[in-house]
């Protein structure tokens, strides 16, 4: 009896303990899933296979050249092993089938609440002639038959048409909602050939999304009705993709060691910190699927990090007869050698403003390394070096921003070396002079303290960036209505270039009843002069207008202050007022373009914006059309090849100004009491 009572007492412990355990440890059950959800690169799951999903797009129902923007909001891509080959039911499995495996939007692009993913805005227009990676995530090794793209039914997407030639019934250069024709937010198919995933193997899943415009809006506020379908990308998207693989010798992957990054190879667009794809190194091997331009090729930087090893980097594929470029449908080999079993340390500190001593938030620090076999001095020629890891400062100016146990910050995982390894680090922040310093890692592999920098404050890796200031005033032709305000942003670019270097941290707000506001703009002190321009963010139909109705005002050749921390107050800055001329668009064609062709819009010699030359023909051909949404004004257009001017600047033909109309006024942009711009019109430009 005593035993029984004890047993009952013991048994009475079980339910609450079980429930508590499930409460406390339940979340750990989702750990792998969460890890992958938080990673845009292959995660180190013990049993996972990795799938890389990407899209190409097609549009039917309306000529693509009639659109300025088209975004489709994607929540996730799901895979299901059903239907099994030979099964009686060869249809798609149900939406609630437990076997669906989800590949969510990558971290930082659309992380959501309670584990629900957010949206990735897929640029449908750009996707017509380039492959857009969605995410790489782990799934259970299996053979998958069904593929489903989950769309956001609440906010499926948006469309911005250009203005109609000769006038139309709806306004152009304004945002229109997208509505899905079919109920539900999923589009799916059963693959003719099963998608086979294997442990520690990266599987490519290229998909083609087709958007068919069923109905266009016939009046303000009406949506575009769109039918979306998905299918395997033709030819496995080989006309867009290349394969780079190889070996990494000298170190091992170590997926299970906390606070040490997994040994991996990362590809980023050459000369940038923009990571395109990462592959874990398994058994000293890696493999990457990368988008590539068919005509000109694409240049990537590659770097090896993690695994308690030294870093390695390469610019392009070497040796190569193509300048390191990669082309679609080709396979390339790039091998690396590193030194493993390193003691890891940190380079950390604080970045401040040299003039105010205040912390600089969001400064970017890039670790630079000469490409393999190069003797380039990264301190003097940083553009010839590969960024082999980057971090940013937090709200108090401290770096590195913390990573996770499994994926620590690059700057917390640096080999100390014996003798100590010297790293070259570049710090950049908008509005400040960039700075390059040399540092050695020290301390532990966590936190924001560590590193030895001879040029830093007291030998620590704390640095102050210099800046100077330009002040001026922006004026409106007409005051905002008393209940409204105008939001104005001021930009600075290096004179004569499109090298934007600064913008106001806080947009100017001109409240109702006032017509002007003064600004002070941080600019790098080591640049002698700037081109400035100011643009408004108006409301249209109660929502933020993607393109302004106010004119863009410009000022070329604004002299900088003579020294750091000084202020330039140029006379005659922005004498032109911002007029409300309404929306406008410019469209044209380019003769024999290639994938490096762009078109630039300028006003008074100040370069304002660039447009890609988009596809009027189906992918993968490069099309020959371009378009801008810009308020009616006097502009020039310039053809660029790989960013360099090709030919003279052509004047844009006279742009029709929308006829002023009275109520109801859809915009916060107006120039006379009660009068607003009417429907806009397109301006056709001669071929470039």
């Amino acid at each position: 009896m005593k035993k029984l009572r004890i047993s009952w007492a013991a048994v009475s412990l079980i339910p609450p303990l079980l429930i508590l355990c499930s409460l406390f440890f339940g979340s750990f059950g989702n750990r792998h899933k969460a890890t992958f959800a938080a990673s845009s690169t292959p995660g180190p799951g013990a049993t996972s296979a990795n799938v890389q999903v990407g899209f190409i797009t097609t549009i039917t129902g309306q000529p693509p050249s009639g659109l300025q923007n088209m975004y489709l909001n994607i929540i996730s891509v799901r895979l299901n092993p059903k239907p099994k080959p030979g099964a009686t039911n060869q249809g798609l499995p149900g939406e609630n089938d437990a076997a669906w495996k989800s590949i969510p939007v990558p971290a930082g692009v659309g992380v959501g609440i309670n584990g629900k993913p957010g949206d990735l805005q897929l640029d449908v227009l750009a996707g017509q002639n380039k492959f857009q990676l969605f995410n790489t995530a782990g799934v259970r090794p299996n053979k998958y038959s069904s593929v489903e793209v989950v769309l956001d039914t609440t906010t499926p997407g948006s469309v911005v048409p250009i203005c109609s030639s000769g006038g139309g019934s709806i306004e152009g250069c304004a945002n229109y909602p997208m509505v899905l024709q079919a109920a539900g937010g999923q589009v799916s198919f059963v693959a003719a050939n099963q998608i086979v995933t294997s442990r520690n193997t990266l599987t490519q899943l290229p998909l083609q999304l087709n958007l068919s415009i069923i109905n266009k809006p016939s009046g303000p506020g009406e949506p575009y009705v769109v039918a979306v379908s998905v299918a395997p990308a033709p030819g496995n998207a080989s006309q867009f993709l290349t394969t780079v693989s190889g070996s990494v010798t000298g170190a091992n992957g170590n997926a299970t060691v906390k606070k040490v990054r997994h040994l991996s190879v990362t590809a980023e667009l050459a000369g940038t910190d923009t990571i395109v794809a990462t592959s874990n190194v398994v058994n000293s091997q890696y493999s990457l699927f990368l988008p590539a331009a068919a005509d000109l090729g694409t240049l990537y930087d590659f770097f090896v990090s993690g695994g308690a090893a030294t870093l390695a980097g390469a610019r392009g594929i070497s040796p190569s007869s193509n300048g390191g470029l990669v082309f679609p449908s080709q396979s390339y080999t790039q091998n690396f050698t590193v030194e493993g079993d390193q003691t890891l340390g940190t380079i950390g500190g604080t970045i401040t403003d040299a003039c105010t001593s205040l912390p600089i938030q969001g400064a970017v620090l890039s670790m630079l390394m000469p490409p393999d076999g190069s003797s380039v001095n990264c301190a003097t020629t940083p553009t010839q070096c590969v960024s082999v890891g980057s971090t940013v400062t937090d709200n108090s100016g401290k770096y590195p921003l913390p990573g996770t146990f499994q994926n620590p910050a690059y700057f917390n995982n640096l080999a100390i070396g014996s003798p100590p390894i010297t790293y070259t680090v570049q710090v950049t922040a908008p509005g400040y002079d960039s700075q390059i310093f040399e540092a050695q890692a020290s301390g532990t592999n966590s936190g924001t303290s560590g590193g030895v920098c001879e040029s830093g404050t007291n030998g620590a890796c704390d640095f102050a960036l210099t800046t100077s200031y330009i002040t001026g005033t922006v004026r409106l032709t007409a005051n905002p209505q008393p209940s409204n305000s105008a939001s104005i942003q001021v930009f600075a670019e290096q004179s004569g270039t499109n090298n934007l270097v600064s913008a106001l941290a806080l947009p100017l707000i001109i409240p109702g009843g006032q017509s002007s506001a003064s600004f002070t703009l941080n600019v790098p002190s080591q640049i002698s002069s700037f081109d400035l321009f100011a643009s408004a963010a108006d409301f249209f139909e109660g929502v933020t207008d993607p393109y302004p109705g106010h004119t863009i005002i410009t000022q070329a050749g604004v002299a900088n202050a003579p020294t750091a921390c000084a202020t330039s107050e140029p006379a005659g800055l922005f004498l032109e007022t911002m007029d409300c001329s309404g929306h406008g668009s410019i469209a044209g064609t380019v003769i024999n373009p290639d994938s490096g062709t762009t078109v630039e819009l300028s006003k008074n010699g100040v370069q304002l914006m660039q447009a890609a030359v988009g596809p009027a023909t189906p992918a993968p051909s490069v099309g020959n059309t371009y378009s801008f949404c810009a308020p009616p004004d006097t502009y020039g257009v310039q053809r660029l090849e790989a960013g360099i001017a090709a030919g003279p600047t052509a004047s844009v033909a006279a742009m029709p100004t929308p006829t002023a109309t009275s109520s109801p006024c859809p915009s916060t942009c107006f120039s006379a009491p009660g009068m607003c711009p009417g429907l806009c019109a397109n301006t056709i430009q001669s071929p470039l």
């Binding site: 609450p16 692009v109 609440i113 912390p359 971090t391 996770t404 146990f405 908008p430 305000s485 707000i509």
Partner: protein
């Protein structure tokens, strides 16, 4: 007999712990904290604002609701939560990099994206709003107190942030910033990691740009930070 009493006591303690956890989960009060932490009434789910896209892209953000406005600088990604938000609210984000990196701004409530805008332009601007049209930008928050949860990157966590009268339960991911306007008395926050990705890095700031740090907290999976 002694064993039985011990087991019964353990059972009672276990059930009490379960009840405490259940209450915390149900009424969002979390309970169990003396003094001025955790004893405020629960409120509806918080609307959050997200700046997303290519990780590490710097931006500046003007966010305004019906009562106040804030300037927030940072890098992608960042979750912004306004404590006791009064709609309508508007967010204008300016990308601060000269590249074609994607920057998306989202307004999310209960896991549903309410509004979304993107830009890939160099120094591009994207803006979203919720709860109607905010025609004017409100004045800067008076006594601009903030709590920054800077890491670990991607860490999902639950939080209770509160002043002397109102508490807010949220579930979001790091990096995140909680914005206060005219808080009643001192503020505090308690943060619990859903998964143990690493040590929390949390700081509380005062001032219009979030750079003046009042106090910091680290560790995990559970951390409390209080205004000094």
């Amino acid at each position: 007999m002694k064993m039985r009493i011990t087991l019964r006591t353990l059972a009672v303690v276990a059930w009490a712990a379960l009840l405490s956890a259940a209450l915390g989960a149900c009424n969002n009060s979390q309970g169990g904290f003396g003094g001025d932490v955790g004893n405020t009434p629960p409120v509806p789910p918080v609307t959050s604002f997200k700046v997303l896209g290519i990780v590490g892209t710097p931006f500046s953000l003007l966010i305004s609701n019906a009562n106040a406005s804030w300037l927030v600088k940072g890098t992608i990604p960042l979750n912004v939560l306004i404590v006791n938000n009064q709609t309508p609210a508007r967010m204008i984000a300016t990308k601060l990099s000269n590249d074609n990196n994607l920057m998306s701004v989202e307004i999310v409530n209960g896991g549903i994206v309410l509004s979304l805008a993107s830009t890939t332009a160099a120094f591009g601007v994207a803006s979203v709003q919720t709860g109607g049209t905010l025609n004017t930008i409100s004045p800067p928050a008076a006594l601009d107190l903030r709590i920054y949860v800077t890491g670990p990157f991607g860490q999902r966590f639950q939080s209770l942030v509160e002043d002397a009268t109102v508490g807010f339960i949220t579930n979001t991911r790091a990096p995140a910033v909680f914005l206060f306007d005219q808080p009643s008395g001192k503020i505090d926050g308690q943060f619990t990691q859903d998964q143990n990705f690493g040590s929390f890095a949390i700081n509380m700031t005062e001032g219009s740009d979030g750079s003046k740090v009042l106090t910091t907290a680290s560790g995990g999976p559970f951390v409390i930070i209080r205004q000094p």
